[in-house]
Each structure stands twice: as structure tokens, then as C-alpha cells.
């Protein structure tokens, strides 16, 4: 077998094992949440009779292990059950939310990834001169500000003051693609600012690392333009660390944007998960956890595979 194929298969198997471990953790974690589902659903207005009625209806008395096996096997068949709190089918409710989350993440990624890499290359080209310092200063400032503050500032200027984009990014299936893009303009802008610095700094550091190599000096002596050297000769050898950071940020864009969802009223997965945690709606929390874990592990495997493939020593073994 080709060693690259072997490595990739190994990575995939490891990923599946990790996912199984994550499913156990998610299940155990949701079991030890404090509080009571019935109380959380009925809130302050709960009477003891109503509580008892609801508890027996939800069947919260079976042993945990049986419930885990049942849950996992039906989840593998795509059946995530129904939400305890409002009786809706989880798979179909999550479907729409997941699409929204992926849409926002994709828009933010399409802007931020090329921009971050380009700015990184630019920073290396003008290393220690004013463009480098300016890029670093701006991106580090934007990553240091809390997301919600960045969101409010952008909302204040772009929506309340100038009226360019809507402050409520509510999207629904009745909207055209352009309308959706217009609706998510502000959250995508904030997310771009948030993830830019990490990827830009990593690109800069990784490329600077290879800039010390002998072959870069050769390229310089051949008289190539400096930007060509960076983009064509140094960059391919710095791809592995950059891809890793890009994937971590992509995963963040999918699983970690609940604050932005709240500020811009975006109907994504984060808000959905938080609502159900607050109501102790265990099946939904488990389903969300499983999806997030899958995305996180999946993106990291992808990063690994790309790193492996980008390494010529592994691609062309002796």
C-alpha cells in the first residue's frame, strides 16, 4: 500500500475512535448536568403535580447505559429523537440551523482565509517596515476586543448611523442568495475581524521560518522578485502549519460563534444549543454535541491529510 494512503486511513480510523470517545463524554456530561428537565421546562410556574406528570411522561427512569446504546444506534441511523421541551423532531430542527451556521461560516471563511494569507504574505514582504507593523497592529487590536463589543460598534455605525446593512441578521428560506448575503454582512464582518489575526500571524511566522533556508537564498540570487519568492517558493513549504491554523479557525467559525449569533439575532446552532442546555433538553444537547464533535474532528483530520499530502517526502517515498 502506498504509505500516504496508509497514513490517511490511519488518521481516519483514529478520528472515528475519537468520535466514539466524544460521544461517551457527551452522554456522560449531559447526565451529570445539575437540575431537573421537568423543572427547567415548567420554570417558576411549576406545580408538584405538573412536575410529576411531566417526569413520568419523559421516561427519565431507565438506566443510563441502555439509554446510551439506544441513543447512539439511532443517532447513527440519522434519528436524533424529538426535543423534550417542544416535541419537535430534532434532526429537522437542527437541519435548518446547521445550514445557517455553515452558511455564515462559509461567508466568513471565504473572506477571511484568503485575506489572512494575503496579509501574511504582505507582512513577510515588508517585514519590520510600516505595512507589516500596520497589519499586525490592526489585526491584533481586533482579536483583542471582545466579540460582542466589536459587534455593537459595527452595528452602531453600519446599521444605526449609516443604514447600510440590517442589524438583525435573521435569514429564512424565503430569501434569495443575495438577500441572505446582505443579511449576514455584519456578522461575517465581525467574524472576519476576529479570526484574521490568528491566521495572519501564523502565515507570517511559518513563512519567515522557511525564508532562512538555502533554497530561498538561491531564488534571491537568481534575481526573482521578492513577492514571487515568498508566494511561489517559501509558501508551499510552510503550508502544513498554516492549514492547521486555518482549520482550527474554520472549526471555531462553526462551533464557537454563539455570542455573534445572539448579538445579530442569527438563527444558528449556537443559540439553539444554549437554549436547550438552559431547558435541560438532553437529547438536543447530545445531538448538537455530536455534530460539533464531528465537525471539529473532521476539520482536524482534513488539516492532517492536507499536511501529509503537502509533504513531498511522504508523497514520493524512496
Amino acid at each position: 500500500m502506498h504509505p500516504v494512503l496508509k497514513l490517511v486511513i490511519q488518521r481516519l480510523a483514529l478520528g472515528l475512535l475519537l468520535l466514539l470517545a466524544a460521544s461517551v463524554l457527551i452522554f456522560v456530561g449531559t447526565q451529570i448536568l445539575p437540575g431537573d428537565v421537568a423543572q427547567a421546562i415548567l420554570g417558576q410556574g411549576a406545580t408538584p403535580e405538573a412536575l410529576a406528570n411531566l417526569r413520568s411522561e419523559l421516561g427519565l427512569d431507565e438506566p443510563a447505559f441502555t439509554r446510551y446504546i439506544e441513543w447512539l444506534s439511532s443517532a447513527l441511523q440519522g434519528d436524533l429523537g424529538t426535543a423534550l421541551s417542544n416535541g419537535r423532531d430534532i434532526a429537522s430542527s437542527i437541519g435548518g440551523r446547521l445550514q445557517n451556521t455553515l452558511f455564515l461560516a462559509a461567508v466568513a471563511a471565504c473572506i477571511s482565509v484568503p485575506l489572512a494569507i494575503f496579509l501574511g504574505l504582505l507582512a513577510v514582504r515588508y517585514r519590520d517596515r510600516w505595512p507589516d507593523k500596520l497589519i499586525s497592529a490592526i489585526t491584533l487590536t481586533s482579536i483583542s476586543l471582545p466579540e460582542f463589543l466589536l459587534g455593537y460598534v459595527i452595528m452602531y455605525f453600519f446599521s444605526v448611523q449609516w443604514g447600510l446593512f440590517p442589524s438583525v441578521s435573521n435569514i429564512n428560506s424565503g430569501m434569495s442568495f443575495l438577500e441572505k448575503l446582505n443579511a449576514v454582512a455584519l456578522p461575517a464582518m465581525v467574524l472576519t475581524l476576529v479570526v484574521l489575526a490568528h491566521m495572519m500571524r501564523m502565515t507570517r511566522a511559518a513563512i519567515l521560518n522557511v525564508m532562512q533556508s538555502a533554497y530561498v537564498e538561491t531564488a534571491e540570487l537568481k534575481g526573482l522578485r521578492r513577492f514571487t519568492i515568498i508566494a511561489r517558493h517559501a509558501m508551499p513549504n510552510a503550508i502544513a502549519p498554516i492549514v492547521n491554523v486555518v482549520m482550527i479557525n474554520l472549526a471555531y467559525l462553526v462551533v464557537g460563534v454563539v455570542v455573534i449569533e445572539v448579538v445579530f439575532v442569527y438563527p444558528g446552532m449556537g443559540q439553539y444549543l444554549v437554549d436547550h442546555v438552559a431547558k435541560r433538553d438532553v437529547p438536543v444537547v447530545q445531538a448538537c454535541g455530536l455534530i460539533f464533535a464531528t465537525i471539529y474532528i473532521g476539520l482536524n483530520i482534513l488539516a492532517d491529510v492536507i499536511s501529509i499530502l503537502s509533504n513531498p517526502r511522504l508523497r514520493h517515498p524512496k
Binding site: G43, E49, R88, V168, N170, N172, V262
Partner: protein
């Protein structure tokens, strides 16, 4: 005001001249836009309700877990959409009097144990079915039977039998109850076909608006129910409710014109928001109150001197000024204020008195810190309020130790469990219901563990008393008992603060609940 301006104003108010054109021409006549806008909104109001247009609301208090089943409603967004899509037996009007909705008229037997409600004919559900007395009876049964998970179960408990005679609903109560119709105005008790036994979450009601789209925690879209029986309400063609739980996002959405009506404006920004152009902030004194509750049967709070010391050691006015920023009024250690019918104005207001507090504290013989549990979810500003309480009590030599609890699980682990904690009450339409919910010895939510036989007797007597003067005297006596012996420290009654922009008009003050008792969307109309 010259004739030309008057003519323009009339046209603009009728809507045949658009707002921008009107302001432009008014400016040409030398009328500034501020004056012109003011006159226009008055003219629009005088013109009476206009049909048409759509309303977009930004609401706090919605979660992706919300259900269309009225029995399970507990937060503001379900409250709002039930008020708009559902039709109850009766409503409590802005003046505190009952208005018939599904019930056309009602009578009580002389001893107030049997109530007969005549069901209005020709009221149609959203699915075209006609509302019958049987549907009403089934609805009440679903909210009161053994399997019920309804938030209205507590108030249904006094009803012993539900029967139908032709087009009349007959209710028997266990004891006399002069306030029964008021209880039936509860927002959980929206009439459903066959009482919702077939499918409680179908969203089929008999209200002014019917369901188009339901995305819990995101948005709810409703459109006018064409065959709605009451033509005096329901002026918009459609209503869209956006769930905007973040306060700043809600204000921005209103200011940028994406929504026209928002609830729950935070007191600290209400003044700022009111100064923004074209925004109206409405503050309504209601029955909701913020409280610190002590369990009267748990040491050290089983000593009335200690309870009295703590009641005297709280600076109410300071709390109203700092926690509510003036959007509220001082409380008097009883759950009742002037917004209730039969309130006795002559009950003296308790003042902050550190010397008296010290006197009672020393007489109680207690020493050492007193633990007060609080949390951000207890009420807005509860942690700061506890801090203010600690400071004012320290001046009387009382040491309060604040324990800050996590918001998650506060209602199950702390409230009604720990002996001294912060909480809130939304208020009830009548005194009887408020007292029966939380101060009767055997009430489910007797969160102050107030056990007083004489109080219980008076409450039951007052419930069946049809003579209003005698009834008022009884409520006054009960209020004094809770005030002087109970475990309730009630520093303030909070106002509801809502806001709308000048694209809509027709706001009236309604003290029942926020957003004109949830009826703002069906009673207001488009101003454009």
C-alpha cells in the same frame, strides 16, 4: 396653522400623502419637521385605526424550546404570540374591568359558587370550525385534568365541575369565588378545538391572527384571520415577531427601523432611547414586583422581630432610584399596590428606619451574619439590589452576607428552597389570586412559608363576598397581616417599559402585563 398646512396634514393622516412628502411640503410652509411630526402623529391618532400594513416586533424572552401548546407557555414570546393568535373566554381591560371575548355574558349564582358563561355565536377557529361551548369546556378540562402540565393548573384547582348546557358553559367552584371570571383571562387558557386534546401544538386558535410560520427562538409569522369576529381590533395584515434576546440588539433594531415595537427596554437605557428621534418609550406601572423572601418557619427568620428589622433596614426609594432608575414605585412589604382593584390607599408606607431596625434586631437576640442568596436571574439588577440592601442594613448593625448563585437552576435549587433569597412576582389580575397563589397556607408557591389561619379564613371569606366595601376592608386587613407578620420584603414594584417607533400608533396604557397586556399588536395600527 394655515389652511394649506391643515389640508396637507389631513391627507398625510389618511395616508394619501406619504410621510416624507408631507414633511418636505410642511418645511416649505415654514413648519419645522419636529413640529410637523408631532402634529402628524396627533392627526393620525385622531383619524382612528387604519387597516393594513405589517408589524414587525423585536421581543425578548423567546427560546428554541418554545411550544405552541398554550399549557407550556412561560416566557414573554409565547405570551405574546398566544395573546395575538389565541382567544380567551374573557379579557381584563385596561380599566381593570372584564371584557367578554368567547364568552358573551356571564352570571354568578348568589353564593358565587356557580358561574354560567354564554358562548358567543359565530366565532370561528382558524381551521374554519365554529367555536362551541364544548370546545371551551374541553380546553378548561385539559388545563385542569390529572395529566395536565399547564401553567394554569394552579388557578384551575378551585373549579370542581365543568359542564355544558346548550351554548352555555357551567362552572361549579369548590367554595364561593367572586373573582372566577378574572382567573379565566389567564393567557394559558386560549380556547382550542376540542380543547387541544387532538393536537395541542397545532396552533389552531380563534384569535385575530393565524399561524403562518413558527420557528421557535427565531421568528413567528402570523397573518390576519379573515373571519375574526371582532372588527375593532386586528388592524395589521400580518405580524412578524423576531426573537431578539439581546437588549442592545433590540434597541438597535428599533432605531434602524427594522422592527417597530420592542419589549423589555432596560431602565438604564430607557432615557437615552426616548431621546432618539421617532422613538416612543412607554413606561407602565403594573403589578409586578421584586422581592426578598424569608421563610417564616425557618430559623432565624421564624422570629418576627428579625423579619421586622430586615423590613425596616431596606431603603426602598434608593432602590427605585438606582435599580429601576425611577421606572417603578416603592413597595410596602405586601404583594399588592394601587394597580389592583379594591386596594386600600390608607395603609401607611413603611420607611427606611435604621434606628427602629436596630431596636427590633436587638430584641430578636440574633447575632452573626444573615445569608441572602441572589442571582442575576432573580430579577434584573438583583445582585446590585442585594448589595444596596447589605449597605443599608449595615447602618442598622445587621450583617447580611450575600451568596451569589448561578442563574442556571436558580428556580429549582434556590427559590422556594433556601430560607432567604431574591425573587420576583409578575403580579396577578386580582388580589385574591395573588394571595391564593403565594400566601395561602397550602399554596404551592407559598415561598415565604406564611402560615396564618386567620389570614386563610379571611381570604376564603373575601373570595365569596359580593359586597365590595366589606371585601375591600378584608383585603386591607390581610394586606396589613402580610406587611407586619409575613416573610415578604417588597422594596419595589417595577414598571413595564416598552418602546415603539412612529411608524405605528394607538398605544394605550394597560397595567395588566407588558405590551398593553400583550395586545399591542392587535390594538395598535400603522401610521404610514
Amino acid at each position: 396653522m394655515n389652511d394649506e398646512f391643515r389640508y396637507l396634514l389631513a391627507r398625510a393622516a389618511r395616508g394619501s400623502l406619504d410621510r416624507r412628502a408631507f414633511l418636505g411640503r410642511a418645511a416649505a410652509l415654514g413648519v419645522t419637521s419636529t413640529v410637523a411630526t408631532g402634529l402628524l402623529s396627533k392627526a393620525v391618532l385622531a383619524q382612528g385605526p387604519r387597516q393594513g400594513g405589517s408589524l414587525v416586533m423585536g421581543l425578548q424572552g423567546g427560546e428554541s424550546t418554545n411550544s405552541l401548546d398554550p399549557a407550556l407557555a412561560a416566557s414573554q414570546v409565547p405570551f405574546s404570540y398566544l395573546k395575538v393568535s389565541g382567544e380567551p373566554l374573557v379579557n381584563i381591560g385596561a380599566d381593570g374591568n372584564l371584557q367578554g371575548r368567547i364568552a358573551e355574558e356571564w352570571t354568578a349564582s348568589p353564593d358565587a359558587t356557580e358561574w354560567r358563561f354564554k358562548i358567543r355565536s359565530g366565532v370561528e377557529f382558524h381551521n374554519g370550525q365554529t367555536v362551541t361551548a364544548e370546545d371551551v369546556a374541553q380546553t378548561l378540562r385539559r388545563h385542569s385534568n390529572e395529566d395536565s402540565q399547564s401553567g394554569a393548573l394552579g388557578i384551575m384547582r378551585g373549579i370542581s365541575s365543568i359542564a355544558v348546557e346548550g351554548d352555555t358553559l357551567v362552572l361549579q367552584t369548590e367554595g364561593p369565588n367572586a373573582d372566577l371570571p378574572f382567573l379565566l383571562a389567564d393567557y394559558h387558557l386560549m380556547i382550542q378545538p376540542n380543547g387541544g386534546f387532538d393536537d395541542a401544538t397545532a396552533g389552531i386558535f380563534a384569535g385575530a391572527y393565524k399561524w403562518v410560520e413558527n420557528e421557535p427562538g427565531v421568528r413567528h409569522v402570523l397573518e390576519k384571520h379573515a373571519n375574526y369576529w371582532d372588527s375593532s381590533v386586528g388592524h395589521f395584515n400580518s405580524i412578524e415577531m423576531l426573537v431578539i434576546n439581546d437588549s442592545t440588539a433590540r434597541n438597535s433594531a428599533l432605531q434602524s427601523g427594522q422592527v417597530q415595537l420592542i419589549n423589555r427596554v432596560e431602565p438604564r437605557v430607557a432615557g437615552l432611547l426616548a431621546r432618539a428621534p421617532g422613538i416612543h418609550v412607554e413606561s407602565t406601572a403594573g403589578r409586578g414586583h421584586y422581592v426578598f423572601i424569608m421563610h417564616c418557619n425557618t430559623a432565624p427568620f421564624d422570629n418576627n422581630d428579625l423579619r421586622m428589622a430586615l423590613k425596616l433596614a431596606i431603603d426602598r426609594q434608593d432602590m427605585v432610584d438606582r435599580i429601576l432608575r425611577g421606572y417603578g414605585s416603592v413597595g410596602n412589604d405586601m404583594p399588592i399596590n394601587a394597580s389592583y382593584p379594591l386596594f386600600d390607599e390608607s395603609i401607611p408606607q413603611r420607611q427606611y428606619d435604621p434606628d427602629q431596625a436596630r431596636f427590633h434586631y436587638e430584641r430578636s437576640g440574633h447575632s452573626g451574619p444573615i445569608q441572602l442568596r441572589t442571582s442575576e436571574v432573580a430579577f434584573p439588577g438583583a445582585v446590585d439590589a442585594a448589595q444596596l440592601f447589605k449597605e443599608s442594613a449595615a447602618a442598622a448593625g445587621i450583617d447580611i452576607e450575600i451568596l451569589r448563585e448561578p442563574g442556571d437552576g436558580y428556580w429549582s435549587e434556590v427559590w422556594n428552597v433556601q430560607p432567604f433569597s431574591a425573587s420576583y412576582w409578575g403580579g396577578r389580575p386580582v388580589q385574591d389570586q395573588m394571595y391564593s397563589t403565594a400566601y395561602l397556607s397550602n399554596a404551592d408557591w407559598n415561598d415565604t412559608r406564611f402560615f396564618n389561619e386567620h389570614f386563610d379564613e379571611l381570604l376564603l371569606q373575601a373570595r365569596g363576598e359580593l359586597d365590595q366595601t366589606r371585601r375591600k376592608a378584608m383585603y386591607s386587613e390581610m394586606g396589613m397581616m402580610v406587611r407586619d407578620e409575613g416573610g415578604l420584603i417588597c422594596p419595589m414594584f417595577n414598571d413595564f417599559i416598552d418602546a415603539y417607533n412612529d411608524q405605528i400608533t394607538g398605544w394605550v396604557t394597560n397595567p395588566n402585563l407588558e405590551m398593553m397586556d400583550g395586545l399591542a399588536p392587535v390594538q395598535m395600527w400603522s401610521a404610514e
